[in-house]
């Protein structure tokens, strides 16, 4: 008997269809995986099920009766709860206070802590969290916090529980813990929706699988036992595309030129024995599931992390200096997709943002900052990078996302870096600006920079990089290039660690 059934769910945002005719059947005591690439419609489906948004069309039925959720609180009243990736706990309160954020038992005007503890203890024990209930949540490990959050959801006696990306790293403990949690949920006859991008985990833990792609349901409630990881990857990414008209440019033959080098680099609990060489003119991608160790490569080169063994050398065979600031001084550029947080001063004009590294951070232009010179240079960048703005005195916060990201590129290119580290450089940028930023990256490489690219956008990796290193549990599982380099292979190797 199905608890919650979603049928023909459609949702459009400003003319873009996020989800078309989506369907899911959630059975009690069963775990249903919801999979898809970024932008496939997963989160839209979750939001509809959880009452965060209302669909444009389609129906939800619970126990055969149609329902409409007006809010998340309404959904909770109907017995649908969400445990999300960002844990929504109060770190400065103790476990008990976190378990009863609203429905706390009272005695007169006071909390009835004893009743709260009596209600909570069996659930926590069943979940395997044997910690004093007066412990502050701040003092718990990430895994323990997750159990607290699950316990909080269970105290509301849900019929359906949505686990939204419950583990971010591929660690054994996380998977075992999850297995235990799901066992409890199954035995309580809760219907579970499991949203994840870690396919190995999905194969271990789930009973049925729904895959979305571009808002469409490509696999609906299929039995996990009938599927292999390859089938799921194909469903998520669609048929393998023909090679692009323009193949990636041939890597330059500069074996003797300056290179960025990692030799047998290990970082405790993050990566082991990683070797990497990037020549001037090359664009090398690093990728993997969250926590696989690929981002640590960027941090090592930026001086934000020190290797516990092995060496990292910048082009020209120089060591990476300690600390971000010195690394920047040594010619490392860090273009982050988090342009609002790490990239820009939104309340300041374009010229000031563009000059920030070369003239201000590194004071390469002497002890006097001449505004006219900075503006002149900024105008040059605005023309070259085709940044669409009124003039260089416009505040950066008023530009579109794509143009803001171009300003970030400009401020780093202004300092003519030897190493360009790109972390999701086109996050949230429209297609046109994205292509232009890709051209800029290619040009920077052609001009002699060493380029390292980390991206959650697999298409970007496949399109832009000469080769891509796929990390799996702290090691390089494969180096893909040429005909091997496509999204399917990246996803498969990221998830299985096996290539070939």
């Amino acid at each position: 008997m199905t608890v919650l059934r979603a049928q023909n769910i459609t949702k459009t945002y400003g003319g873009v269809t996020a989800l078309a005719d989506g369907a899911m059947n959630i059975e009690p005591g069963s775990v249903h995986a919801l999979l898809g690439e970024n932008g496939a419609g997963k989160s839209t489906m979750v939001k509809v099920l959880a009452g965060t948004i209302r669909p444009d069309a389609g129906t939800l039925t619970m126990d055969g009766r149609p329902v409409a959720f007006h809010s998340t609180a309404d959904a909770v009243r109907h017995g649908v709860a969400v445990v999300s990736q960002e844990l929504n706990l109060f770190p400065d309160l103790d476990i008990l206070a976190n378990l009863f954020p609203l429905r706390e038992p009272r005695r007169g005007p006071f909390l009835n802590r004893r009743a709260m503890a009596d209600a909570a203890r069996p659930i926590l024990t069943r979940l395997g969290l044997n910690v004093d209930l007066r412990t502050l949540v701040r003092e718990l490990s990430l895994g323990q916090r997750q159990l607290v959050e699950i316990a909080r959801a269970l105290l509301a006696e849900p019929r359906v529980l949505i686990l939204d990306e419950p583990t971010s790293a591929l660690d054994r403990d996380g998977s075992d813990r999850l297995l235990g949690i799901l066992e409890v949920l199954r035995e309580r006859q809760v219907g579970v929706v499991f949203v994840s991008h870690i396919l190995e985990e999905v194969m271990q833990l789930c009973d049925t699988i729904t895959v979305l792609r571009d808002g469409n349901t490509v696999l609906s409630g299929a039995d996990r036992a009938d599927l292999r990881i390859d089938d799921i990857v194909s469903a998520m990414l669609g048929p393998r595309p023909d090679r692009e008209a323009a193949p990636p440019p041939v890597p330059p033959q500069a074996a003797n030129g300056p290179e960025l080098r990692l030799d047998k680099v290990s970082v405790d609990e993050v990566m082991t024995g990683v070797d990497l060489r990037v020549h001037a003119g090359e664009i090398i991608g690093v990728t993997g599931l969250a926590g696989a160790g690929h981002l640590a490569v960027l941090e090592l080169v930026a001086g934000l992390r020190r290797p516990s063994s092995g060496t990292v050398r910048l082009p020209g065979d120089r060591p990476v200096p300690r600390g971000l600031r010195r690394a920047i001084g040594a010619g490392v550029a860090v273009v982050s997709g988090d342009r609002r947080g790490r990239g820009l001063m939104l309340d300041q004009p374009i010229w000031q943002n563009i000059g920030q590294v070369r003239s201000i951070g590194l004071s390469r232009d002497g002890l006097v900052v001449r505004k006219s010179a900075l503006r002149g240079r900024a105008r040059g960048h605005v023309d070259r990078l085709r940044i669409r703005c009124r003039d260089v005195d416009q505040r950066v916060g008023l530009l579109s996302g794509g143009n803001q990201q171009k300003v970030v590129m400009a401020k780093w290119l202004d300092a003519s870096p030897a190493v360009l580290l790109l972390d999701d450089p086109t996050r949230g940028v429209d297609v046109g600006a994205k292509a232009e930023i890709h051209d800029l990256i290619r040009k920077a490489a052609a001009d002699g920079a060493v380029v390292l690219l980390a991206s959650t956008d697999l298409e970007e990796l496949a399109e832009l990089c000469h080769s891509v290193l796929v990390f799996y549990r702290g090691q390089v599982a494969a180096r893909l290039s040429g005909a091997d380099l496509d999204q399917h292979t990246i996803v498969r190797v990221s998830n299985t660690g096996e290539h070939g």
């Binding site: 600031r325 001084g329 790490r342 939104l346 000031q352 590294v357 003239s359 003039d391």
Partner: protein
């Protein structure tokens, strides 16, 4: 969101925020007329407020307009004014120094004591300024190595420095100074008919404005206040810049103390109590926002002048002495409220343009 914030310093305001995208406006935008620039200058509202207040007092009490009275008012604004210049730097990088009043007091007393010990006045004065810088360094080192925010560190040193002042002077006035020295006659007297300390303030204000607008240090200070993470990710060391700014304000407090000693010709161990709050008020009235990202040194000086006008102006109204602090607070509130209203209206105008 930050996107809607109005840029705060006159220089950085978009030259033509009211004309969208006309090519013709570009040439005008590059060289807005001096009047327009002055009109948009951030120090304008405090200047207008000061002039209006002086006019108001003078209408009721014309004797306030005497040159002597006005110069006295300026003279008494110098000490807080110098502190406010440094405070503008700190506020614009989202930091604050609460110990400057005590640094001021300690410098006054220590410099006087050095003179009493037989050190000639001028070397003692130089040492006094160095002492101020050293106390700023102490603050910076505490912030850096104890790892606490500047507001907490300087809250402690506010007491520590004041305590030192009282202990060194035994709680008594430092007197018997070599008043015949050119130090006292020059710095405590007038030059070209204006108190020398006022000239010093003007000089310092000009220099610090240039530093703020034309050096990497000045840009770094404002960058940190605008977005600390982006500053770090641009190769700016927040720790280093903060240290430099705290030493700067210490040096300014030292200079202010030395000028104070020259004028008062004796060292009261309680002198400068509460100056830190006046300096913060002056900087804010002058147009340096607490959220950081921009500063105006000239505005901070004018803010100090406004406070001084309030204090000396109140003497002309038969306000009982016990009500003068109340009245001062009221005027500060009015000045800040006026400024905020003007800003909000400006912001709304830009919002209408879809900014």
């Amino acid at each position: 969101m930050t996107a809607h914030r109005q840029s705060e310093t006159g220089e950085k305001v978009d030259p033509a925020p009211r004309s969208w995208g006309h090519a013709a406006s570009l040439s005008q935008a590059k060289l807005p007329s001096l009047a327009v620039r002055a009109g948009r200058g951030e120090a304008t509202s405090v200047l207008v407020a000061t002039v209006a207040l002086v006019a108001f007092i003078s209408i009721l009490h014309p004797e306030f307009l005497r040159v002597g009275q006005l110069l006295d008012t300026l003279q008494s604004a110098v000490y807080v004014g110098l502190l406010a210049c440094g405070m503008a730097y700190l506020l614009s990088m989202r930091e604050i120094d609460l110990s400057v009043g005590s640094t001021f007091g300690l410098t006054v007393v220590a410099t006087g004591l050095m003179m009493n010990e037989g050190l000639p006045a001028w070397p003692a004065a130089v040492l006094g300024i160095v002492l101020g810088g050293f106390l700023g360094l102490v603050n910076a080192l505490i912030v850096q190595f104890v790892g606490i925010p500047a507001i907490v560190a300087t809250l402690a040193t506010l007491s520590v420095f004041r305590g030192l002042t009282l202990a060194l002077s035994d709680g008594k006035q430092v007197t018997g100074l070599p008043l015949e020295s050119s130090f006292f006659t020059l710095l405590g007297g007038k030059t070209f008919g204006v108190p020398t300390s006022v000239w010093v303030l003007i000089l310092i204000a000009v220099v610090l404005t240039l530093v703020l607008r034309f050096t990497p240090f000045g840009y770094r200070v404002r960058s940190i206040g605008s977005n600390p993470d982006a500053a770090t990710f641009s190769g700016i060391s927040i720790a280093k810049v903060r240290m430099q700014a705290l030493v700067l304000i210490g040096l300014l407090a030292g200079l202010s103390g030395v000028l104070g000693l020259a004028f008062f010709t004796s060292g009261d161990p309680n002198i400068g109590t509460g100056f830190e709050l006046q300096a913060i008020a002056a900087a804010i009235i002058g147009g340096t926002p607490l959220r950081g990202g921009s500063a105006t040194v000239i505005g901070a000086c004018l803010g100090a002048v406004l406070l001084s006008v309030v204090t000396s102006g109140l003497q002309y109204f038969n306000i009982p002495a016990n009500w003068s602090a109340f009245a001062t607070g009221g005027v500060i509130l009015a000045a800040v409220a006026l400024d905020s209203l003007v800003r909000r209206r400006r912001r709304r105008e830009s919002a209408k343009l879809g900014l």
